[in-house]
């Protein structure tokens, strides 16, 4: 293991988050089994009191969980100087077989934590705990992911050795290999460009329609998820090329470095934020007719949709401006 402040922070926070999630799972289990708002029993009132505690602590826990996604990438990027062959986070994460699975899991947990926070925010605005069983069931579903992240991340950091020779991003994300990354970067750029702008246009359109009419929440949420996936593929396939102005460099991590103006951070933040708030609209839609939330959900959904539209729009503007001002001409390679 390499003693680096960010590694220690990530490991300790992950242990802390896992501990709280384990406790919350036990509590969630009790909620599923024993919650009965009509009862005035000692246990029911204890559960009511304890849910304030849990739903007050967990937003802070998940806020750090969300931040830890970026801290993990930043840490991997910072560590690349220690490994022979590594040029950025791509090489650091490839030092052992746990780096990339941890990254993917952190991305999944980012979205899950965000969705839970949306559910919790809305539930706390209902006078009769309208989503209590659902939100704690969701918490139960999340716990294995959080625990798996702890194990994978610990394995990744504990197995880091400074004498390991790793691969650079140029090798890992070249279109000539036989990995999933190679398949992605080998995707034809023109059809993907069309898919990117089309899906983004439809997402923005469905988002604006939802904001104006309050209908089509599921379509907008679905489009947000789809656009998120297409946007990530596009970063690999063609957006990165315009930023690097190199026809063969597809690395999704080098864009996080100072040499490229840290442009990766606003790109990832906007696309993740846009996807999360867009999917948040969908996760709330089934509860629009809940009596105690009928005044709350439409307003929250509208704010989420507006946030999503705005973030996706910023993402598109950054990408498009970068493509327009770049001297690089992709088509033909």
């Amino acid at each position: 293991m390499i003693f680096h402040p960010a590694i220690i922070a990530l490991i300790l926070s992950s242990i802390f988050i896992s501990f709280l999630m384990t406790y919350s799972s036990y509590f969630s289990f009790l909620i599923q089994r024993k919650w009965d708002l009509k009862s005035g029993s000692d246990l029911q009132l204890t559960l009511e009191r304890r849910t304030y505690l849990v739903s007050t602590i967990l937003p802070y826990v998940f806020a750090f969980q969300i931040l830890s996604f970026f801290l993990y990438i930043y840490t991997a990027d910072q560590l690349h100087t220690l490994f022979v062959g590594a040029m950025c986070a791509a090489g650091s994460l490839y030092v052992n077989s746990y780096g990339y699975p941890t990254l993917i899991l952190k991305g999944v947990n980012f979205l899950l934590a965000g969705l839970w926070l949306i559910l919790n925010y809305v539930d706390n605005r209902g006078y009769d705990y309208p989503l209590i069983k659902k939100k704690y069931a969701f918490l139960l579903f999340m716990t294995p992911f959080i625990l798996a992240e702890l194990i994978l991340q610990a394995n990744y950091f504990f197995r880091l050795r400074p004498d390991i020779i790793t691969s650079c991003c140029g090798t890992l994300f070249s279109g000539e290999g036989k990995s999933l990354a190679a398949d992605i970067v080998a995707l034809p750029s023109l059809p993907l460009k069309v898919a990117f702008y089309l899906s983004m246009f439809l997402t923005l359109l469905s988002g604006i329609y939802f904001c104006r009419h309050g209908r089509g929440g599921y379509i907008f949420a679905g489009m947000s998820a789809l656009t998120f996936v297409i946007s990530l593929l596009s970063i690999f396939s063609f957006i990165s090329l315009y930023i690097y102005e190199l026809p063969t460099h597809h690395c999704p991590f080098c864009i996080l470095q100072g040499g490229y103006g840290y442009i990766g951070y606003p790109l990832y933040l906007t696309v993740l934020g846009g996807a999360l708030s867009g999917m948040g609209v969908g996760i709330l839609s089934p509860f629009r007719n809940t009596k105690s939330l009928s005044a709350v959900i439409p307003s929250v959904q509208r704010k989420l949709a507006l946030t999503s539209v705005l973030l996706f729009l910023i993402f598109t503007v950054i990408v498009s401006v970068r493509m327009l001002i770049s001297d690089f001409i992709l088509e033909g390679y």
Binding site: G40, R49, Y129
Partner: protein, 226 residues
């Protein structure tokens, strides 16, 4: 109408010093009447009033205010009910000594966001009602006991609550001031307020304005009289 269903309040539950302050109390309290909870010190009167007034939560049981069940409400909703429905007159008044009478009366209404001039006007009307408007700009620490008590009542009324809760209101008053208090409580009753009083002072519970007397002993209802 306030309804209590099998209310229990246990302090320090599960610890060696566990104490059951209220033990399975069920009762209905009519609106627009003066109800007195009478009982010796430590009988649970104050605890019961704090539960009714949403100042604390029961260990078990439910309380219904009109048609709404209030014990399960999340804190953000309880705060709203506490502010709009209940006015509290505490045994030791709990006025803020270093600010003026007027500011003390206005204070509970600040979170409502009401326009300051309208609030000030309403506070002055209340001080007028209790004949202490001349002391509006005087700091509370310079008021006499009787004046402080009237300020405490005015403060309890600033949000125009439907229920006034008074805990041992005559504990620190002489006979003259106690009579004055009863007169004020009578006015409140005539203004369609529900008045709940905890007291072990015969001066209060033998008064003609009291419409219902509930005796409490060891956290249980001992008997009722009207």
């Amino acid at each position: 109408m306030i309804q209590l269903k099998n209310i229990t309040k246990v302090f320090n539950q599960g610890k060696p010093n566990e104490f059951t302050a209220i033990d399975g109390v069920s009762l209905s309290i009519d609106s627009n009447k003066v109800t007195v909870f009478e009982g010796p010190s430590g009988s649970g009167k104050t605890t019961l009033l704090s539960l009714i007034g949403c100042m604390s939560r029961p260990t078990s049981g439910r309380i219904h205010l009109m048609d709404q069940e209030i014990t399960s409400l999340p804190e953000r909703f309880l705060t709203e009910i506490r502010r709009k429905t209940f006015g509290f007159v505490f045994q030791h008044f709990h006025l803020i000594q270093s600010i003026t009478t007027l500011e003390n009366v206005m204070l509970p209404a600040y979170p409502s966001g009401e326009k300051h001039s309208a609030l000030r006007k309403r506070a002055m009307e209340l001080l007028d009602l209790f004949n202490i408007s001349s002391k509006a700009t005087v700091k509370v620490k310079w008021l006499s006991g009787g004046e402080a008590q009237r300020v405490a009542i005015a403060r309890a009324l600033i949000n125009n609550p439907s229920v006034i809760i008074a805990d041992e209101p005559t504990a620190h008053l002489d006979t003259k001031l106690s009579l004055e208090l009863l007169e004020i409580l009578g006015k409140l009753k005539n203004n369609q307020k529900t008045v709940l009083i905890a007291s072990h002072d015969p001066f209060i519970f033998e008064s003609a304005i009291v419409e219902r007397l509930i005796r409490i002993r060891d956290g249980k209802i001992d008997g009722r009289a009207a």
